[in-house]
């Protein structure tokens, strides 16, 4: 199983390569990718440097180009595809049909992956992308159960990558516009969810209020630790009860499922977090490398070691991890 790690900058890319990533995924410094944050991502020359570094050590570099351009933005995306091809990137990870079509026709040598933002949850959708664009791999949205992952892989015409660790989207990626409903900016259109530019922290007598686009999404009592305010992880009221109505502030850690993922035929496991620090990338990559190596040595006796779990818990958002949807018994 290939270990695919995030890099939001050159130090993170080097940290991933040096600590055991098989592949590193990156993005250009603009809204062509779903982690468009200030100071993050790569210029073409930095990426060229990163690719040289990774290739010298036998590792692969992918570029995510996984937002959805509007008609007037397409030329910019087409240039970005050409640039990725010129850089000799090992794979381009796309979501938009128009972008995939351009890449497949104009740069046929490019290895195309379907991004999680492409929202493919079934084999018929995968067949669509495969037959039209010759995608080699697809990343599944973080909503499928283990049984469903297994089923998709059995029927899939392409290899499958799944998320193993990191922040957890409870919605089907590519089909969630909660962020733009509150702020005008979504992952699809702008490359960012719950953008920092629209977050306001307001001190009150009771503690701290977090607002996104003016909407109160979290109310923290004094002294409570405050995480990044993602809209779907806020506390709201339904039928008079205040709770995490959409999603708890937890993150994904599927390490315990490595044997099941391997048995299902998962080709690659992805670590979320291009927006995180090089320290995060180093820690998480190192632990997952150890785990994958341990599993390769002794598949039957594999179990996550307490030290690994503790190291990962330290860098998790919300400091609480879950198996996410993989472990639900129901459809």
């Amino acid at each position: 199983m290939e270990l695919v790690c995030p890099a939001g900058n050159l130090p993170s890319l080097k940290a991933a390569v040096d600590n055991g990533a098989d592949a590193v995924y990156t993005g250009f410094r603009d809204d062509t990718n779903a982690r468009y944050f200030a100071g993050l991502n790569f210029t073409a020359s930095k990426l060229a440097e990163g690719i040289r570094y990774a290739k010298a050590k036998g590792k692969r570099v992918f570029i995510a180009m996984n937002t959805y351009p509007r008609t007037d933005g397409l030329p910019r995306f087409e240039q970005a595809v050409d640039q990725a091809a010129a850089l000799g990137v090992d794979a381009l990870i796309c979501a938009d049909i128009g972008v995939l079509d351009y890449a497949a026709r104009r740069q046929p040598q490019l290895n195309l992956h379907l991004s999680v933002q492409g929202s493919a949850t079934n084999d018929e959708a995968l067949r669509y992308y495969h037959e039209h664009f010759g995608i080699k791999r697809a990343v599944l949205p973080r909503v499928l159960s283990m049984a469903q992952v297994r089923h998709v892989i059995e029927q899939s015409p392409v290899e499958i990558e799944v998320f193993g660790f990191g922040s957890l989207c409870v919605m089907v990626e590519g089909r969630c516009i909660l962020s733009s409903y509150a702020t005008g900016r979504s992952p699809n259109t702008y490359g960012a969810c719950s953008p920092a530019s629209h977050v306001a922290w307001i001190e009150t007598d009771a503690g701290l209020d977090t607002r996104l686009g003016g909407v109160l999404i979290q109310r923290h009592p004094k002294g409570e630790s405050v995480g990044y305010p993602t809209l779907c992880k806020g506390s709201y009221r339904t039928e008079g009860r205040t709770h995490h109505a959409i999603e708890d502030p937890v993150s994904l850690n599927a390490m315990a499922l490595l044997p099941e993922l391997a048995a299902a035929g998962v080709a690659a496991v992805k670590i979320e977090g291009r927006q995180r620090s090089p320290v995060y990338v180093k820690q998480v990559t190192r632990v997952w490398r150890e785990a994958l190596d341990a599993f390769a040595r002794d598949p039957v006796g594999f179990a996550p070691q307490p030290a690994w779990t503790a190291a990962l818990a330290k860098v998790s958002e919300g400091a609480q991890t879950t198996l996410g949807p993989y472990h639900r018994p129901w459809q």
Partner: protein, 302 residues
């Protein structure tokens, strides 16, 4: 069709889970309404079983007999094999046009005429051209896109493809594998006890300062506010939009259709209709997306 009848009015699929009797009563009303096109079928959750495929076909036949164009709509989120099986059955029939709400459905419909709904991401003309080459005859503007984005699309729209805009209703904002209605009731999804049938317009999510923000509809999250593009009718006409979609709500859908119809027919001033519409919405209006603002913003809408 006369110029004053443009754009045509469509009634989207019922996004909620209503008892069968209510569904039948609803479509009896629709048969006599000014709706030109009616989308039928379950698009949100396969566990909603009161109205079966054969029942939908019966309703479809009645609506067709009443002069409506009927389109069979499909699930937006396809995960289980059982869901694909039902989808295949819908795609196999050729009495009615099918609306694909997932690329999986597009794949099954390739080579035949089909429509794509708003949960298929058609964000640029290149995407639309490729879908059209596969047989797409109609597309719905993704709800988060602006008037400007639509204008650019319309300039390069492939021949023979109709454009539909979601013009009225609680906005579809997200889909998940999790059922939020069941979650709010502390029920697991596999034992949801049809929790969503108690919420004929979704379950409202309020912020902690009592602002109605979202509406939970099973695995779908909607806006609490109702999108209303009636005030933009002149723009929509100028952009050659063929069809305006009205999304069903449990009450007053007939009145909403009638108001849209009177304005398009020139029988009622948009401002007067807008005032009336505002009283028919469960929470209040929004139209921010159309104007390039936050979706929840109410700019021109009542």
């Amino acid at each position: 069709m006369t110029a004053t009848a443009a754009p045509r009015l469509s009634l989207g699929p019922i996004p909620y889970y209503w008892p069968k009797e209510q569904v039948e009563h609803f479509y009896a009303m629709v048969a006599d309404s000014p709706a030109d096109i009616v989308y039928l079928g379950e698009t949100i959750c396969a566990k909603r079983s009161q109205v079966r495929f054969e029942d939908w076909l019966t309703i479809a036949a009645r609506l067709r007999a009443a002069g409506k164009e009927v389109v069979l709509s499909t699930l937006a989120l396809l995960e289980a094999e059982s869901e694909l099986k039902r989808l295949r059955a819908i795609c196999r029939q050729d009495d009615y046009l099918v609306e694909a709400n997932d690329l999986g459905a597009v794949q099954l419909l390739r080579g035949r005429p089909f429509a794509v709904g708003h949960s298929v991401n058609v964000y640029n003309h290149r995407t639309l051209a490729l879908l059209a080459a596969d047989g797409c005859k109609r597309w719905v503007l993704p709800v988060e896109l602006t008037r400007e984005a639509l204008a650019a699309m319309q300039q390069q729209r492939p021949a023979g493809v109709e454009t539909e805009v979601f013009a009225y209703g609680r906005l579809p904002l997200a889909y998940s594998a999790r059922c939020f209605t069941a979650r709010a009731r502390n029920l697991p999804k596999d034992d949801c006890r049809d929790a969503c049938i108690d919420h004929p317009d979704g379950m409202v999510v309020e912020t902690q300062d009592a602002n109605p923000f979202l509406a939970l509809n099973g695995i779908q999250t909607q806006s609490a506010r109702t999108m209303n593009l009636l005030p933009a009718l002149d723009d929509l006409r100028a952009l050659d939009v063929d069809i305006l979609r009205i999304s069903p709500q449990s009450q007053y859908t007939g009145e909403v259709l009638a108001l849209f119809h009177k304005v398009r027919a020139g029988e009622l001033a948009p401002a007067a209709a807008n005032e009336a519409l505002a009283t028919l919405m469960p929470t209040g209006p929004c139209d921010g997306y159309w104007h390039g603002a936050a979706g929840m913003a109410a700019l021109a809408a009542a």
